[in-house]
């Protein structure tokens, strides 16, 4: 007896190309994350509120710092602005892994894995698109507020540089967070790591104080901290005309130009994605 076994109903299942299918999957998964955000906007609001409080309180704390203490005679508020913008994007992106972790724990990921996804990278793409948009929106909100507080606004070219730098940082941190979301056993552990990583990385960077203020060992830390490589170009973009070949950082190991900062961030992003790829492949296979 011969039975037509593999009778996939072609009127139901489209025979469209791989790219169209990947776009359909990714769009649907991304839409889900945005619907969640719309109905539960507390993460969005908290993500703007926290850096805003930093900006206002920390800015006020050191507002009477003597003129000329900071490089270029900058006011502390202006100095802090760049740091807080980067901190906003950084802590936003650090949360990228949380929705994925909850999907793992509640079994929703299994629902996705039973479906004939054209590429399981769609799950990762959706997270990256979502968290990038979210972090950039939060950062822009902080930039606008900072401008209203009188801490300046980068020019058009400067704005592009700011966004590009933030994008690189957000990609890198998202990769890290997604990697953690698949490597750690549960959301408690993930939240603990996020909690521990957040503030020390901020302190050990040039967000709150310049390198010249720090003891040597901390200067080393700050000069190796990825956040610093994002903060310095943004601070330069706020300070005036753009020149990426200028030295932005007198690190203990040598002078770092704007170009070097961006190169380091690019390298970090690529490196982290390569690093988590085998992990994602294993967990999603």
């Amino acid at each position: 007896m011969t039975t037509p076994l593999l009778q996939i109903d072609t009127s139901q299942v489209s025979s469209r190309g791989a790219l169209t299918e990947i776009i359909q999957e990714t769009t649907a998964l991304t839409r889900r994350l945005f619907v969640q955000l719309k109905r539960r906007p507390s993460t969005l609001i908290a993500g703007v509120l926290q850096p805003l409080i930093w900006l206002i309180l920390f800015g006020a704390l050191f507002s009477k710092a003597p003129e000329g203490l900071l490089p270029g005679g900058m006011s502390y508020g202006r100095f802090l602005g760049a740091g807080v913008i980067v901190f906003t994007a950084f802590s936003g992106a650090l949360n990228a892994g949380l929705p994925v972790m909850f999907d793992r724990e509640f079994g929703f990921l299994n629902r996705l894995l039973v479906a004939p996804l054209r590429s399981r990278s769609s799950i990762v793409f959706a997270s990256v698109i979502f968290i990038t948009t979210l972090s950039l929106v939060q950062s822009l909100a902080i930039m606008v507020t900072a401008a209203l507080l009188g801490y300046g606004w980068p020019g058009a070219g400067g704005l592009l540089l700011v966004l590009f730098t933030l994008l690189l940082l957000v990609f890198a941190v998202t990769a890290l967070s997604l990697g953690l979301a698949f490597a750690l056993p549960g959301h408690i552990e993930l939240i603990a790591v996020i909690f521990v990583a957040n503030l020390p990385l901020l302190f050990a960077s040039t967000a709150l104080a310049p390198l010249s203020f720090m003891p040597v060992w901390m200067g080393w830390l700050a000069a190796l901290n990825p956040l610093t490589f994002a903060i310095e170009p943004i601070r330069a973009a706020y300070a005036g005309p753009l020149d990426l070949s200028l030295v932005l950082l007198d690190a203990p190991y040598g002078s770092v130009t704007g170009q070097t900062c961006l190169l380091v961030l690019t390298g970090l992003t690529v490196g982290l994605f390569l690093l988590i790829r085998p992990l994602l492949n294993r967990k999603l296979s």
Partner: protein, 337 residues
């Protein structure tokens, strides 16, 4: 022709074996029941079929495809309704179905048509646009069934589809499953409810300790067991001595296969007899001994008897025994990616 062929499957979680040399064939177009106590390996078997899990050893073929290699084709072919319903509480039921439709690459127009069809079929209209977080267990199950049916799968796999459900939801789900079978879909479901297999299944397998111990149609299995069941009392509550006397009286009679004294039911006697013809002889024998029959109930063997015969214990006892051995933490870890 078999749609599913499982060949000598072995699977362990750490040192705990879940499947031991499990082989099974499910014919195309039938409603197939997998009966067994919790922890017998039903879920593991279904997860392997759904491509969520790979066996340590053995072959899995669905519609001639190798489930370990042609995973994407298999996923198109099957609908899988898991035991623990994973639903995004923030989305509405309709949004969840739309998401699911996109993951199966349905075109938007067909997707929405199909969703409307399923809403009608499963009676979800009053609540489908409410958020899933507000749903009862029965609503979630129906929604999950709809999600599994969106792409019109050739094979529908359901893991304990009616556990803990209200009667209405259970009836809805049973009817949908029967209709699907009538329209040519192969349906494979696991359950530890005897009456569910009895009500639904064309064929069934009993699974115990990770292996198949009996297979056939429910009637075949009962017939193979043979004999009628008789419950007999000479008064409301007999004492043990009287029950033993009766047993000794009846045991030598022609056509009486086996007698068990049921202590928990007032020392009533449970007999296995060859057929109805034996009953008048029983009555006569007891009357002659001055112990006329007070109550006598006769029944055909049930699936519980089949289970008892195959494993030497009742389904209920098996569940209790296994419940103590399970490691929920390990199982949760296994289900998590």
């Amino acid at each position: 022709m078999s749609l599913i062929v499982l060949d000598h499957l072995e699977k362990s979680y750490g040192t705990i074996p879940a499947l031991r040399d499990l082989s099974l064939q499910v014919p195309e177009g039938c409603l197939y029941g997998l009966l067994g106590p919790n922890g017998a390996g039903k879920t593991t078997t279904l997860r392997i079929l759904a491509t969520l899990l790979a066996p340590d050893l053995g072959d899995v073929r669905i519609a001639g495809l190798d489930a370990l290699k042609d995973q994407r084709d298999i996923r198109r072919l099957i609908g899988y309704v898991a035991q623990e319903v994973a639903i995004d509480k923030i989305l509405t039921g309709r949004e969840l179905l739309e998401l699911q439709g996109d993951l199966y690459h349905l075109r938007p127009k067909q997707r929405n048509q199909r969703i409307d069809e399923l809403i009608e079929m499963l009676g979800m209209d009053p609540w489908i646009d409410r958020r899933c977080g507000t749903y009862s267990g029965g609503m979630r199950r129906r929604l999950d069934l709809a999600a599994g049916l969106l792409h019109r799968p050739q094979l529908l796999i359901l893991d304990e589809p009616t556990v803990g459900l209200d009667i209405e939801s259970r009836a809805v789900i049973w009817n949908v499953l029967r209709d699907l079978r009538d329209q040519g879909t192969t349906v494979l479901l696991s359950t530890h409810y005897l009456e569910e297999v009895e009500a639904l299944a064309d064929r069934m397998a009993i699974i115990d300790a990770g292996t198949v111990i009996a297979e056939g149609t429910p009637n075949e299995l009962k017939k193979r067991l043979g004999g009628d069941r008789v419950t007999l009392r000479v008064r409301e509550f007999s004492n043990e001595q009287e029950a033993e006397t009766i047993r000794d009286l009846l045991q030598p009679l022609d056509g009486v296969q086996n007698i068990v004294i049921n202590r928990s039911q007032g020392h009533s006697l449970n007999l296995v007899v060859d057929g109805e013809a034996v009953l008048p002889r029983l009555r006569l024998c007891l009357e002659e001994a001055g112990l006329p029959v007070f109550a006598l109930a006769q029944s055909k063997p049930s699936l519980d008897d089949v289970y008892l015969q195959a494993t030497g214990r009742t389904l209920m006892d098996a569940e209790l025994a296994i419940a103590g051995q399970r490691d929920p933490k390990q199982e949760r870890k296994q289900a998590m990616r």
